[in-house]
Symmetry: C2
Subunit: 202 residues, 2 copies
DNA sequence: GTCTATACCAAGATAGAC
DNA sequence: GTCTATCTTGGTATAGAC
């Protein structure tokens, strides 16, 4: 019996990757503890036993997913181009964050889920703190260039807002368009009436 | 020595309340699924069996806690005083939210923990949506009075910011003082240079 | 109202066949 | 590499004594 393209594709795709993808999806949707190995195996169409060929334990599976997640999040380009007007730099930065937030949504969601429970958070504390610090630092520098008062506080506030944004995207059914959000943010920091000088990607 | 009805009542209440408090603490710290009945019983210094005298199941316990949480959150006074300058109304509103955020921190944290997992969220969806809608509605009205452009979008943005704030209070070790945060928020919506007209509570 | 003992089950993990 | 069968543990929940 000949196999369809899709079937072939599925067989070809490595089992490990399938497990990782399915596990991420379920961990995000139901939470780590509420998701059982059986559920993951079932959805990935493999046996429970096979799981343990690729991962030493359930926790090990989580670790790999989170590592993978941090890697994706780190693609966020923190460095800002030199020689460009700081106003444009801020715009680029906000663009980059919002883009990343959309394209890596699953990982952001996982990141939040870790963040809300102090005990769980501890394990990945160091990497998370590093990520946050880098974020705040870049933004603070940018605000300084823009001559905004209390640049560090403002950086914290904007970072905080982005966290809330992820949260709301998870919860909300009626989402505000990203371009409106972007412009609303920028207008708070850039006094010019013509904030929207360029088209947003989305 | 015979006990009165009232005394029994009080004993009953105190045990139950102890369970509720301990469970809230553990659910928030470790998460619902990661917390076992044994752990709750141990920390509350009661037996596992007694748990089931007060609550039909672990899930029932969670339900009661969440109900209690919503009740606390609802104490937030959404209605704004009439006859007062809208600028002051906004200030009062922000004050009220920040105060509530501090005094009911545990419940806000629980609220976020529910929010991050779509599957869990579904169960309490209706109550949560109602709470959010009321919040946004009040704020939108206030922004309209203040003649701010896109009042509904701005209300969403500020609500989003508050969500992020809870998240950051959970995660961060170095927290910005509440009065600075308050002033930073207000200065974004009130153009006057003299935002800080009154002392904040904290 | 509170405890101990225990039933029952589902989850994580391993062994060994193919 | 993948499966099925099985072990082991720890969890929820119940029964019954005090």
């Amino acid at each position: 019996m000949p196999r369809t393209k899709k079937q072939f594709e599925e067989i070809r795709k490595s089992s490990k990757e399938k497990i990782l993808n399915v596990a991420l999806e379920l961990f995000v949707k139901k939470g780590y503890h509420a998701t059982s190995i059986s559920q993951i195996a079932q959805k990935a169409k493999i046996s429970k036993g096979l799981m343990y060929n690729y991962f030493a334990s359930k926790e090990d599976l989580l670790d790999e997913i989170i590592l993978q997640g941090f890697h994706s999040l780190e693609e966020l380009e923190f460095r800002t181009k030199r020689g460009v007007h700081p106003q444009t730099q801020l715009e680029d930065f906000v663009d980059a964050v919002l883009d990343n937030l959309y394209s890596n949504f699953n990982y952001w969601q996982l990141y939040l889920a870790l963040l809300v429970h102090p005990e769980i958070q501890k394990k990945y504390e160091k990497k998370m703190k590093q990520f946050r610090d880098e974020f705040i630092q870049t933004l603070t520098l940018l605000f300084k260039k823009l001559k905004i008062k209390n640049p560090k506080l403002e950086a914290f506030l904007l970072g905080t807002f982005f966290d809330g944004l992820v949260l709301n995207f998870i919860a909300a059914e009626d989402v505000f368009p990203i371009s409106k959000i972007k412009n609303a943010i920028l207008s708070k920091y850039i006094k010019s009436n013509k904030v929207q000088t360029r088209k947003t990607k989305k």
